[in-house]
Amino acid sequence: MNSKTPGDTAMSIAGLGPHGERAVPADQIQLTQTDAAQARGRRFSVAVVLHTTTSDWSKQELAGIAAALGLYSAALVEVVDCNFDFELQVAALARLAREKVDAVISIPIGNARVAQAHRALTQSGRRLVLLDNAPTGMLPGTDYASVVSTDNFGLGQSCAAMLSAHIPQGGAAGILGYGIDFFATHEREIAFRKWMGSHRPDVTLVRERFADLDGAGAAALAMVEKTPGLSGIFAVWDVPAMKAVQALAQKNIDIPITTVDLGNEVALDMARHGMIKGVGAQLPYDQGSAAARVTLAALLGLPVPPWVALAGREVTPSDVIEAYQVIWHLPAPRTIIESVRSSFAAQIQDAGE
């Protein structure tokens, strides 16, 4: 059984919001029966604008949004895939500001460059709920209704704590950071550094950044080459982490890695006892569901908190199957289950010998 009940996770949100707000736990956002009836009667239309729709995270986020909206007879009328291109996002928001939608749920791609387009959408009379971050300078109430996010600060701390076990006294740890101005990855990196600074002041931290995913493997290799005693790496999310795993494996380098999000590849690597030693995972389905409830509350004119957060979940190789079910609302793939079983059998055999 998952030891982290909703009550527990509500207590452990470590990070503050984009304006220093204390988080309101996502499970506190619920519609009463009266609100629900009113929402159903008004048959709202909602559009979603995402950086990509192809990642595991996006698919689950969308599933959570669609299911929760549907429950209250709100239609998810359009999903925009911006393919990481901020210009596409700006154009999509400008178009939605003229179309028949009541609200938009959007994940801002970057910071200042998309702020004005988001503001303009709110000014057009549509409700705007943001995922993960609010561009610097945008204000809740005026420019958007709420930000719904995982506690990225907490995720960074978890990853530091899990990596710390693999770093010897006086060793070095590397950060594989994102070269784009993005609140969520900033928070993870700051939290990782802070945890290491206060719990492991003996550890030297080094960093390489990648601006696009194809550069992540090379950045990890560069870090290992520059720092001979490097004992572990924290990658700010799972896709660059797996790029690093592939690049390092090609050079026969085996180094402990922790990262954020339990993507399929990362889960499989953990199950095989590969380089990934721990994951701080977001719960995108739950986040999507919370974002939908916040959107409906805002559409009904109810007061909504400016910062709604969900605690993440720590995953280690020993509970990857159960964690997979909690995070993805799906059974773990066959390959993961078999890998866990065979490595477990190998362990028993080792112990017997």
């Binding site: 503050l16 919001g17 304006h19 204390r22 109430g141 005026t142 101005d181 900033h186 700051i190 400016p306």
Partner: protein, 443 residues
Amino acid sequence: MAEEKTTLRSVGRPRSVDAAQASLALLLNLVRTGAATTRQELERRSELGRAVVADRLATMIELGLLKEGELGQATGGRAPRQMRFRQDAGSLLVSAIDQSSIALGIADLNGQMLVEHHEAAQLDAGPEAILDRLATIFDWLLQETEKPAPWGIGLALPGPIEKPAADFEIVPVLQTIQSWQGFPFLERLSMRFGVPIFARSGVQTMTMGEAKAGGGRGLSDIIYVKLGRSISAGLISEGQLHRGAQGAAGMIGHSRVGDELLEAVAGAEAIAREGKAAAEDGRSPYLAQTLERQGELSVVDIGHAAQLGDLFCVELLGRCGRLVGEALAPLTNLVNPSLIVVGGVVAESGGDSLLAGIREAVYRQSHPMVSRDLQIMRSQMGASSGLVGAAQVVLEELFAPAMLQGWVGHGSPLHHPEFQKSLERVTAALASKAAQPTGRVAP
């Protein structure tokens, strides 16, 4: 070198170096604030001759302070080229330190925040820990954003900050907290980054932040009230922050309600205490449950309970709102603001009951003309107002005409002769402090 250049290029009427600095400063501020951007406008607003304006602009372009921008509106003949202030000539580091959190950010020279970060921190953990955290994140912000070197640090601190006797003079801060006594906080931070540092009370910077980028944007008369563990207010009157004789203006939490201080009956701790009492004696079933689950209660729980309709909490927050409103009403009558912004953790969690209480008392006790167009709103900026305000503080200080004249010819405030001297003094003082033996050697 820049000074020589200015002197060499000076044509027309003979003028001293001081006058040259004054005209440079005047023109820079006209362009920076957008008051005048074309050569023609600059000549008219500054009352300087065409040749002098041309010379000063050329100097400032060379110093990297101004650049030529796009074409302006033609008024017959060629469209004039607009001058632009180089907001990327330097950067500003800002931090707002509170009892239980710190905020940090980096801004450009127009005071526009580029990146900000907020995290939990305990002030009573001592100055060394906070200093270390500030330095670490400032370093990270500079590296991450790849912005040019900072020109100054703006700090918002809890409690009043004294006015320094002279420019760049550093004042002691947070002396009421035991672990901070005698600690050269501003000196260390200023020296670490080699930049001037300007500090104000948290509530004063938040007031400036609200006026610049929050509900008070474009308004010249606003009051900001911070409702947290302590209660204080900031005032902008006719566009200027009112600091008071000692810099301690706004301590309204010290006004009396019966025999008690306002902040002792309507501050965050008082509200939490009342909530706990009600949880224990059964007046609030919701709080009783929360207390049992969490083992403690904060004003956030009471705000949440009020939102869910807990009668005790609705009444408690309404009463606190009225008490705060009663303290604000005389102030409202005195200064006739167009807006009162309410911020701080109590305002954020207090919901509509609190705001309704404040409104009720202020409107009831103020003159009809004063309250006719008065708006009372909750802050939307949260702790960001402290950061935006701290950036404004640095800009107002660095670009104050007298200060600006001291550095404009050098292209950066870091080369201001008085700042250089101040930095040397601080460095020497800290070095001598460090050199003092910590223990007496036995004879």
